[in-house]
Symmetry: C2
Subunit: 284 residues, 2 copies
């Protein structure tokens, strides 16, 4: 497993692999890896002959007052987790090489980013699309793997790749959960034991949405209210949004159908957690 | 010379060339070709084993009320000009394939586009960087050739390519002029004979700037005023801007030096014409 600290070295490595006819799989991460990330890595190793993981806490996707500074970092631990999985290269660029003085180019997806997390985190998706566009140019992957916990992120990136005719496939992968249902997230480490307990209201409320759907409920508002009620009954939880929406446009719907997205962002103490489920599609 | 009407065919062609070890040169145009374009094509044919020319009047780089509708088009004539030069492929995408319904991704260079033409044409450079980013992804060139008449355009595109670590070289090429000094432009066709005569004030004023510089003048304001005076003495001319600026940041300067950019945009009747010269560097 090669550690690659510079853009030039990463480009050279990808380019030589491309010349040799390798298929390159890519898992971009902000590090502090958990089982969710590792599931993406395993899938990449399975589908591609070379796998690159990047570790880069990207400043441009954090807003002012967000948790860029305190975002958990532990590269040694991350490398220890990646080594046994058959990863070929770990790209760990430095912020000052990635965004040098005078840097001023941004990639923006305009409509579907004005929904859900885009509303409470202005500029967030511009940071995500910019960093991913640049990472894709550097790593030159055939496939890039993203977890569906950030469902909107995966949709936005797929839109960018299609719109700009970029030469790769965005592969969405299922949410990985703790045994009790909490979606895995590096930000779960922010939670005290009490908050960790409270955080279960997210997955519980989504389970209830699925239960209502499978028992025949098609009124989006009823599902929305049932989800809200479960979260609001948890004193440590503060709702950012509860959305029952079309999984492509993220427009709120009146009637749900198979595939309708139920998406949440909830603040639990110091952590803003997200979770989602597609009705009648995902197991939870 | 192959005519390529779809994105898919163009990607397949480039990809097969890349596999065969060809070097791909690219000249993106909006058609209605003149000697300026052809000089770029000749250079590409010289430097690269395959040359692609695109013809695409890109709607996103025209503002409301600009000349998108009446921009001159004559593809038959263009193809006749390209055929003898050894061009390998002409990519002529359709607007509805290039920007399908739901299209919403844009690439933006933020600072150096808030100067010169960026001020009077808001959104113009966002259109240019977006279309070029997508064209580069489709054509996958090793080198792309741009004339320095649009000096700011070439600088903005170079910035985009560097910032996003795109895998190509932007090659700037000298301005091509009519024998009497007028910089070649597809928009020159808008000019009546009288306006055509009046348009000479642009290159004349730049000649005067070079003369002042070579006679030792270093005061930017004196050069700026001398240029303005020549243009203002032409009744059919209306100045959009006259800039004496740093050729990288486009910040106005107080003292000029070798390489300082003198850049103009001037309305002559129905045409908005641009021209520029780097002091002590360019012949004019």
């Amino acid at each position: 497993m090669k550690l690659v600290p510079t853009i030039g070295e990463m480009k050279a490595l990808s380019s030589s692999w491309r010349k040799d006819g390798e298929t390159i799989g890519f898992v971009p991460t902000m590090g502090y890896l958990h089982e969710g990330h590792l599931s993406l890595v395993r899938e990449s190793v399975k589908q591609c002959s070379k796998t690159v993981v990047s570790i880069f806490v990207n400043p441009t996707q954090f807003g002012p007052g967000e948790d860029f500074e305190r975002y958990p970092r532990d590269t040694e631990r991350d490398l220890g987790l990646l080594e046994p999985l058959g990863v070929d290269a770990v790209f760990i660029p430095e912020v000052k090489e990635f965004y040098p003085e005078g840097y001023q180019t941004y990639v923006e997806v305009t409509e579907i980013t004005n929904r859900l997390c885009g509303l409470s985190r202005p500029g967030h998706f511009r940071g995500v699309t910019t960093v991913c566009c640049k990472l894709f140019n550097i790593v030159s992957p055939h496939k890039a793997f993203f977890g569906k916990k950030d469902f909107q992120q995966f949709t936005v990136l797929k839109r960018m790749v299609d719109d700009l005719a970029m030469d790769l496939e965005i592969v969405p992968m299922p949410i990985v959960r703790e045994p009790d249902g909490l979606a895995m997230s590096s930000r779960n480490t922010y939670l005290s034991p009490k908050e960790r307990e409270a955080a279960l209201c997210l997955s519980k409320s989504l389970k209830e949405a699925q239960r209502l759907f499978s028992s025949g409920e098609r009124d989006a508002n009823k599902i929305r209210e049932a989800v809200k009620k479960i979260i609001e009954s948890e004193p440590l939880a503060e709702i950012d949004y509860v959305s029952v929406c079309d999984p492509y446009s993220f427009d709120e719907v009146d009637k749900v159908e198979r595939g309708t997205l139920v998406a949440l962002a909830v603040k639990i103490g110091p952590a803003r957690l997200i979770d989602n489920t597609q009705l009648g599609v995902d197991e939870i």
